[in-house]
Symmetry: C2
Subunit: 449 residues, 2 copies
């Protein structure tokens, strides 16, 4: 009889963990429980289906449960809620009452959209962007809605704003902070992004926490600070909180960031003691920052996949560790790409680091080569050590590799002087300037002391 | 009276050195001598003008001599040959006989296309791709020519083959090695590139060194091995050799690679002793490899610019060093991008390194996102230390940042296990797969031991 591995959650973390466990232990019995109907899709794709860049929701579903059963010998139970779990008895209990024992339990229960405690958030016409079912409901509502309010000007809020605007709706974004993408993007870069969105006809109400959602039988208006906005639908893009229902039933320790605290092996603690039969991955845990000492949240699909691999390997008798993260991120907002990595100015302040900032603007191709787009790069360094600690960039194309490039320099604790001196750029007129804008930003930053 | 700085050569190395010297020493007298008429253009752009991607040759010229005089107080003497130089007297002598003294001499005399010692290379209709004047002559010849032979299937040869094919000529590429891009690209990756070029209708004759170029008053045919190819024009894309005329007159030591040997400060040697008043940059020097100990050639525009900065700073009383290089490169061949960094398998063999190879194929965007192109990534690691030592990739878009990303990992001596474990990818469906193909190639490589 093989090792019994139970996975709760079928997102990127859960499905990667299940596959990694199967790969490591051919004899294990791997079972996944999920409340969802659809599995193996990228929630990051929802805005792009809604704006029409991706044909339909079916195309973002990579596999169905039968695929996992047949190709990977992984049994999926969809639309199945795990109601409780017991770490001592090593069992989970379904909402049907059925109790199942495990040798290893992988919790990949993800996160939930944070809903501010104001009236009216339960009204029909209020949506979140989390599951494919949310996306389908929004798509349905967009058929008749003429006006929408997006609550929250983070990356998902902006992607949704563009999607709804492109579909012909009047769109207003309400944000409680004075800038878009407040936590991970600096004000100067955020301004460029907001200006672009405004040029598409999206309206912004900044510095206004949402006060209430009003309506009789469905959404009619949003109250935000001193303003009331009539609307047919509301999208809550208000951030993700870890799903702590099961972790709390299991008695697992919660980190100060409100997520499950884990070891480098992604195992949790109970009153400070490691729980050796439980493994976690994805939005439900906090992890370590690779720039400033201490815990950080990294609620990204790319992180979920990397954590899923580690949790799956460890849950099936292997050994792997999950390292500290920089959480590089990228977003496509209309024709604009925005990316960042490491610390923003705001996060650096939070960690008590004094920073120097360098900036450069240029193009994604040689100046004379047609079709290049403007590229703005901002680099941040620790004022004391000169170490690069963060970057943000805005451009029309080709940001993904560039942000990973800077990420690897940050990860290896490279100073800005070393970057200027030693970090080379591949050059060809159709793909870059002879000195890439990243190199130019590093030169600017190095000149700031 | 300020420091007298003489720069010979107006390519990327020379003009960057002149500008860096001016920036460092506001009182210096900076003079540039060049045999060329046009300055401050990228020779890398020539194929893209010929294929029509760039409008005309005028658009690739960034500045004229008047700009440098007015904006940077740099005096240019175009169409002026420096016939000799004397390191003891610290003078240069023009072909007019005029002798001028210097305090610092910057040699940026570049390289020349290697012309194989066979008959007929002097015939009208035989061209090289080096100066903008070469490009203009080729453009003129393309008006009437119907068939062309490209000698050499390196990056420039392939870019030229596509340019001429797109202009409607029948194109045959003759290569003495069994694969395209022989030195810096592995055979398996080269095969993909060659197949693509053949799909465009370009013909290849491999394993055939050129034997002769024949014709009465102009080119009529190329003899290559056992084959004769009728043609109206021939492009010699046969590699670059350092221009050693002046360095030899100055008695400078030449490295085993046939280029001027320099210190980290880019100063040359005479019989082993440093010459403190001369500085070099660009295709005329060899430099140090950042992967395998020893000298290497890095005849790239991006390298020339970085060396020019160091030479200019040092020539004007500052201090900078030029570090060991990986020489990341990228090329656009039709709709295909090809890039590489560090060692190819062939170069690793040359340096006596035993390698492990990993490969992955995927897309530049999420599978379901329209418009992504195929992306093939190959990584090489040292079998003994597991250190990543080289990479090559082929794709339709977004290779530039990705090759720089791997370059920085190689530069920091990262093992493939560390890359798999710690190197993150920014993810968004329009810009990458959730695990980038680079990460997948690293996982494949890590599994090879």
């Amino acid at each position: 009889m093989g090792r019994k591995i139970i996975v709760i959650g079928s997102g990127a973390a859960g499905m990667t963990a299940a596959s990694a466990a199967r790969k490591m232990d051919k004899n294990a019995e791997v079972t996944v429980f999920t409340e969802e109907e659809h599995i193996a899709y990228s929630p990051c794709a929802i805005p792009f289906v809604l704006e029409g860049s991706i044909k339909d929701f079916n195309s973002i579903i990579m596999h169905d449960p039968a695929f996992y059963q047949k190709e990977r010998d992984i049994t999926l139970h969809t639309r199945t809620k795990v109601a409780s779990a017991d770490a001592d008895k090593m069992t989970v209990t379904l909402s049907t009452g059925e109790t199942i024992s495990y040798d290893s339990l992988i919790l990949a229960t993800g996160g939930t959209v944070f809903i501010p405690p104001v009236e009216g958030t339960h009204l029909p016409g209020v949506y979140k962007v989390r599951y494919i079912s949310d996306g389908m409901a929004i798509q349905e509502a967009m058929q008749t809605a003429k006006t929408a309010v997006i609550v929250g000007a983070g990356v998902i809020g902006l992607e949704m704003a563009v999607a709804l605007k492109r579909a012909g709706l009047e769109v207003t974004v309400v944000e409680m902070f004075p800038q878009v993408i407040p936590r991970i993007c600096d004000a100067d870069m955020a301004e460029t992004v907001q200006n672009y969105c405004e040029s598409l006809g999206i309206k912004f109400l900044m510095n206004r926490p949402i006060g209430a959602i009003k309506g009789e039988s469905k959404v009619e208006k949003v109250v935000a600070g001193d303003v009331e906005i009539d609307c047919d639908m509301v999208i809550m893009a208000t951030g993700i909180r870890a799903n702590l229902e099961l972790p709390k039933l299991l008695g697992l320790d919660i980190s100060p960031l409100g997520a499950v605290r884990v070891s480098a092996t992604l195992q949790p603690y109970r009153r400070g003691r490691l729980v050796s039969s439980i493994f976690l991955a994805g939005d439900v845990i906090s992890c370590e920052s690779a720039v400033a000492p201490g815990p950080t949240m990294s609620q990204l699909g790319s992180t979920a996949v990397r954590q899923g691999r580690v949790a799956g390997i460890n849950a099936s008798g292997g050994y792997a560790t999950f390292p500290a993260v920089l959480s590089p991120w990228i977003s496509q907002v209309g024709d604009m790409q925005i990316a960042g990595t490491g610390l923003s100015k705001g996060l650096a302040d939070y960690y008590g680091l004094s920073v120097m900032e360098g900036r450069a603007s240029g193009l994604t191709k040689a100046r004379y080569y047609p079709g290049g787009t403007k590229l703005d790069v901002k680099l941040l360094a620790d004022r004391e050590t000169h170490r690069i600690i963060g970057a943000q960039m805005i451009g029309g194309e080709d940001l993904n590799g560039r942000i990973n490039w800077i990420s690897s320099a940050i990860l290896k604790a490279v100073t800005v002087e070393e970057f200027v001196n030693s970090f080379e750029n591949a050059y060809c007129p159709p793909t870059s300037m002879v000195k890439d804008v990243v190199n130019l930003a590093a030169e600017d930053l190095a000149s700031r002391w």
